[in-house]
């Protein structure tokens, strides 16, 4: 028999190292030849799109085109430490550091422009499209290129540092503010259980993910799909088959991750509720996107079969056995 069921999973996730540990990201912005702007930051691109998102934050803050920016994030001898590409912290923490560095860089440019343009004050000076100009008398303007030609490559810089605010928890009561910000989500799935083979087929899924503000919606959706697939594997397929410390499934022919045919088209919804301490309101979503899916699957399996699986993974064999036990150890079903 094939039985259908639906389930929901809801979760929250606290960003960052947390618990009062100094969670520091640094960034540096440098004016280079041809008026190009170098952003130096230790945020690692593991595939999640950190480089692109941080670049967007930088370009937005500097009001310049992406092409005018050189983004350097690979070599420890060139870039400041921006912490690890983990804990879903790059967009929030390092994004903030990039934003601050860009703002400081802009302030520095404005200071210099005031002198160069022989103005009495920095009021009304605006940085846009690679130029600094006086908003109410735009003839007063100087370009990044003119500045670098005069001051030399690498001399005009801005630095930024962001330290996340968390409070260490009391060791006895756990009272404290361990993480910030928190990210939320909910996922609903519909699935079908083959009660004879114990196989679970996902039929439909709706996934709503809070992103604060999506810096790049395509990147967020890509994370959501990827998180869904990884969670699907976690719930249903993946098993290292540990035996006295030995990993028996130590290759891809045994450790089964989902293929394109096992995945479905997920209805992804990005929920935006900007966070005031975040760069343009954006919160990290890299980890949260895998969290609510497995519980939604488990709840849907229960909805379909009346059997609660309390131990992962829900392999066909395990589900069959549970169905049998629920039916008093009987035969087929």
């Amino acid at each position: 028999m094939k039985k259908r069921g639906r389930g929901i999973g809801v979760s929250f996730y606290g960003t960052g190292y947390g618990n009062g540990f100094p969670d520091v990201s640094k960034a540096k912005v440098v004016l280079h030849d041809e008026g190009k702007v170098g952003i130096y930051v230790g945020g690692t691109e593991v595939g999640q799109g950190a480089k692109t998102a941080l670049l967007q934050i930088g370009a937005e803050t500097l009001s310049i085109s992406l092409e005018q920016i050189l983004f350097i994030s690979e070599d420890t001898s060139l870039m400041p430490d921006s912490g690890t590409a983990a804990a879903s912290r790059q967009t929030y923490n390092t994004g903030n550091a990039v934003k601050k560095a860009c703002e400081n860089f802009k302030d520095r440019l404005i200071d210099i422009a005031k002198e160069e343009l022989e103005l009495n004050s920095t009021h009304g000076l605006k940085v846009e499209k690679g130029e600094i100009y006086l908003e109410f008398f735009p003839d007063k303007r100087i370009s990044f290129k003119e500045l670098v030609d005069k001051y030399g490559d690498g001399t005009i810089q801005g630095e930024g540092e962001f330290i996340a605010q968390t409070v260490e928890m009391d060791p006895e009561t756990g009272q404290g503010a361990p993480y910030w910000p928190y990210t939320f989500n909910a996922c609903g799935v519909e699935l079908e259980v083959d009660t004879l083979t114990g196989q679970v087929e996902i039929l439909d899924a709706v996934f709503a993910q809070d992103a604060g503000k999506a810096i790049n919606p395509h990147l967020v959706e890509g994370q959501m799909d990827g998180g869904f697939a990884m969670a699907l594997g976690y719930a249903l397929f993946e098993d290292l088959k540990l035996d006295k410390g030995r990993i028996k499934s130590n290759k891809f022919s045994r450790y089964l991750i989902p293929t394109a045919m096992d995945m479905i088209d997920v209805k992804n919804i990005i929920v935006e509720d900007p966070e005031s301490t975040a760069p343009y309101g954006a919160k990290g979503i890299g980890e949260p996107v895998m969290i609510p899916i497995a519980p939604a699957i488990l709840n849907a399996i229960y909805d379909a079969t009346g059997v609660r699986i309390k131990e992962l993974p829900v392999t066909p064999e395990k589900l069959r056995k549970a169905l049998d036990e629920a039916n008093g150890g009987g035969g087929s079903d």
């Binding site: 593991v46 990147l219 890509g222 891809f252 293929t259």
Partner: protein
């Protein structure tokens, strides 16, 4: 050592190879075609997919000497007249790429699929790339990319 002749990306080669060399080793170590990746060494992940005489193969499961006399197309051979292939462009445009390690093999599978079936359904696309594992994207934007590539190819883009 064994001497073999083969054509890779339109170029003829005559090479001396070790008997126990695989096609992937030949492509990477001998010819420097590094877009072909090794992810598992057992034909499961598809990162080493190339097109051999018109069909996709996992180059980690082909012995180099078996490729004698054959025509091989790798990711490096997709560009023509300085322009990337419509599938490559579509992958860029829809955001089908994350870590990128599966991408070249994935594109080769997509190409072989579209060569055989220029108008596949989403399900057919899923099957066409089912021998290429991806851990980042959940495949959906890759399927979108192949769908967009169908349009690009039709439009002659």
């Amino acid at each position: 050592m064994k001497e073999i002749q083969l054509n890779v990306n339109g170029k003829d080669y005559s090479l001396n190879i070790d008997e126990n060399m695989r096609l992937i080793d030949l492509l990477r170590d001998k010819l420097g075609l590094l877009g072909t990746k090794e992810g598992c060494g057992e034909g499961e992940c598809g990162a080493c997919t190339v097109i051999m005489d018109g069909e996709t193969v996992t180059s980690c499961l082909v012995m180099a000497f078996q490729a004698h006399g054959s025509e091989i197309l790798t990711i490096e051979g997709l560009e023509s007249n300085g322009k990337i292939h419509p599938i490559q462009q579509a992958f860029i445009d829809v955001g089908a790429v994350q870590c990128g390690f599966c991408t070249p093999g994935m594109i080769m599978s997509a190409k072989a699929l579209l060569d055989k079936n220029p108008n596949p359904t989403r399900e057919e696309i899923r099957e066409g790339i089912s021998g290429n594992l991806c851990r980042c994207t959940g495949y959906n934007k890759i399927v979108d990319g192949v769908e967009l590539a169908i349009n690009y190819i039709e439009e002659g883009k």
